[in-house]
């Protein structure tokens, strides 16, 4: 199939983007709650894994 033959529903993509962002914001709330409820050692160890993996 050629690229020119592909059909894309841009409205649907826009909806997907919006929903994805809303879910990310909800996850931010979860993360805040997790950080508040857990000792620094617990959340920062996991954060270090993420930051260092993406930075190295």
């Amino acid at each position: 199939m050629e690229i020119s033959e592909l059909k894309v529903d841009l409205k649907e993509l826009e909806e997907f983007k919006k929903k994805n962002f809303e879910e990310r914001l909800k996850f931010i709330d979860f993360l805040v709650d997790y950080i508040k409820k857990n000792p620094n050692k617990v959340w920062s160890r996991q954060q270090k894994n993420i930051v260092d993996t993406k930075t190295a």
Binding site: F21, R24, L25, I28, D29, L31, V32, I35, K36, K37, N38, P39, N40, K41, W43, S44, R45, Q46, Q47, K48, I50, V51, D52, K54, T55, A56
Partner: protein, 199 residues
Amino acid sequence: MEIEFGSNEIKFDKELNYLDKLAIDFCKILNKARIKYVIISGYEAILFGRNRASEDIDMFIEHISREKLQEFWALMQKEGFWCVNAELDGAFTLLEDFSAPRFARDKEAYPNMEVKFAKDDLDFYSLGNRIKVMLNGAEIHIGPLELNIAFKLKLGTDKDIEDARFLYKLFEEKLSKEKLLSFVGLLKVEDKAREYIWK
């Protein structure tokens, strides 16, 4: 989360990641050189636990002379850093143009410290009202959280809005609502605050 809030001071310990260590080591040099600085933007969220990486840590410094920069330069090199995008004179020209010399650890290009002279009223407000953070006993200075939250809303990318929401939700009870509302009004981001922060 174990964290202590004082007047203009925050104290806490955490397992340090690469960006934390970079910020601590670079700020140690600025502290030693007696150059007033303030870390702003994304690293403020990462510092307190937001799970994302960054290519750089943004900061403003007070205006300094070329001689003062030279003094800092020697300290910076001694401590294992280098300027990624300029030599000494070029770095000073960048600063005078309100552009950023970037400093990284030797043999690395990123993550780096993006350093600019404070330029406008908001930058000088950040410098003048910076918060001292004692992180694992090391001293670093960050900009006022209320300003950062409003500014992130102004920048408006998904990442920035997520940073803003993270900082607001984490420190909701510690922030000055009055200051936050003032910055939101000043930067004309009331709609974004309603949509992404208050709810």
